[in-house]
Amino acid sequence: MPTPHEILSTVLLQSYNTRVVVLGTAMLGLASGITGAFLLLRKRSLMGDALSHATFPGIGIAFALMVSAGGSGKDLPGLLTGATISGVLGVLCMLAIRNTTRLRDDVAMGFALSVFFGTGAAVYAMVQTKPGAAGLESFIYGKAASMVFSDVVMISTVGITVTATALLLLKEFTVLCFDENFAASTGWPVLRLDILLLVLVTAVTVTGLQAVGLILIIAFLIIPPTAARFWTNSLRRMLVLSGGIGAISGWLGASVSALFANLPAGALIVLTAASIFLFSMLFGTARGVVLKLLDQARLQRRIGRQHLLRAAYEILETMNQPVSNQPIPRQRLLEHRSWSNPELSRLLTQARNEDHIEPGSNPAQIHLSESGFGEASRITRNHRLWELYLITHADIAPSHVDRDADLVEHILGAEMVRALEAELKPRPVIPNSPHQIPSPS
């Protein structure tokens, strides 16, 4: 186990090697987080997957060409050029399939991925007999831990260029991703914008492939933007978060890998990003799962409370006029709506906790508290206002109104209720229900 001192020195980037690796992966995380966000919004997240496989034949062919030209074949810019060309060809092939057949994006991507990758495997097997071919695999599996300073310089150059271009074209990419047809109708060159976006992704992918490997770059393009989406509904904030999550995953994952000898950096970075994703999916403040469940529970509670109080009020109306607060037999409440016994008990407990029902007292008799009675009359009044509104303002048969009103009144806020009151010139007393109140059977 590493000592606290080692942990501190790694996380604070005191060792030169760690600094290089962490800086490189964090830069890459930033750039791919931002380009990946647009891919996600264009519903092409797996593009990175297709592209990174599509670079494969280019690497092999570039190697073979350089060898036959008398070079070593392992010249980095040459290999990267090969990878880029074949990646771009893969992208063009995909766009061509998409635009000239009725096959969809996923098939087009899958085609580019598998055929290019297969071709790459064939090319690679051919050139393997040439001297110096060993080690070409590192393009596929990456070697984050052995990154050197020149790699970082390259990643940073590409990363900054790509990020700057993406931000410069923020509004163009936004309208492309949101509404392609509208963009085209106003004269944006949709196909060229698409190609440009994919060229940016290619640049990130090719750089990333050789620095950190295939799986990590695919993950980097998908996971940070998806995680970011759970925290915000604003595109700008999503881009910032996505870049940030990518960078943090790179930093944390690479740091942990520096501490434990036996853990590959790329895999750790993916797992870090995946953990951030999981956390975001659960607890994200804009679309998180927990938030949604809480919202749902809250809504259910509110609707339950309103149903209970309105039922109580309607029963009180049948018991005496003018309405006054009296104990209500539990049995009558049970009959008033289609509640099951345990359901009603749950609602009553909830109402007791909210002080809408007098505490203690006989369980067979429900006695609303002062505030409960006030709330009940308010809810009943809103409900009837709404019913009245629907009846007078829309062509909905009155017999259908009640069901709608039940749903809608819970969605309308106080503001709408005030507007309705003004519109309907409310009477001094609570308006009568436009329905006959069903007498309990």
Partner: protein, 256 residues
Amino acid sequence: MVHEHPPDCPLSVHDLTVAYQRKPVIWDVDLNIPEGKLVGIVGPNGAGKSTLLKACLDLIPKTSGWVHIYGQPYRANRHLVGYVPQRESVDWDFPVNALDVVAMGTYRRLGWFRPVGKAQKAIALEALEKVGIAHLAGRQISQLSGGQQQRVFLARALAQDAKVYFMDEPFAAVDAATEQAIVVLLQELRDSGRTCLVVHHDLATVAQYFDWLIFLNLRVVASGPTREVFTDENLRKTYGGKLSLLDHAAEAIRRS
């Protein structure tokens, strides 16, 4: 038949045919729409209404024919055109708010690279005000109701400040209040000299909303002022034997 195409016409279509694979979707469409009209495009399902719109906007390739906007090819006069696509054509989960979407109407005038500024936001807000939902400007678009989403799309078209508007079923699945608001808005646009082409489904309201009608069923059955072309005969030619629809229409004719 010789067709005259006056140069100041907001939309003139000559001999337009669009074929998807081997099947022509619309053919031989010839239209001249005068300025300042509310134009309804009606026809049965699959009659090619959306296709006509998209072909006019260069969104799908034309097999033959041409489309002129104010006497110039679409490309030259694109800035005079506003477009309201069908509501289902986009992903409403997209992370933008209502104001952002409306501001998209100003992007093209803004040009490459320049970010959205105060001026564009002001235009967008004004457009949202015109459709009556300025108070929802900051709301994420998935949290808007169907009618509100449709209003956002209309506001975006208003922000384009165009002279000819193409609207693909703006009344589809909106509430009665929104429908009324849209009609009022369309009338205001017309009164300020704009031309609106609207794909519409409801024959019962067609005569009441529009002052010019295009009956479309693969080809143009009739095109002209509502008073002249909204006839039993044209309806029958357009809708064929779909009698239940015709009954609706007959009633509408009686009422008008």
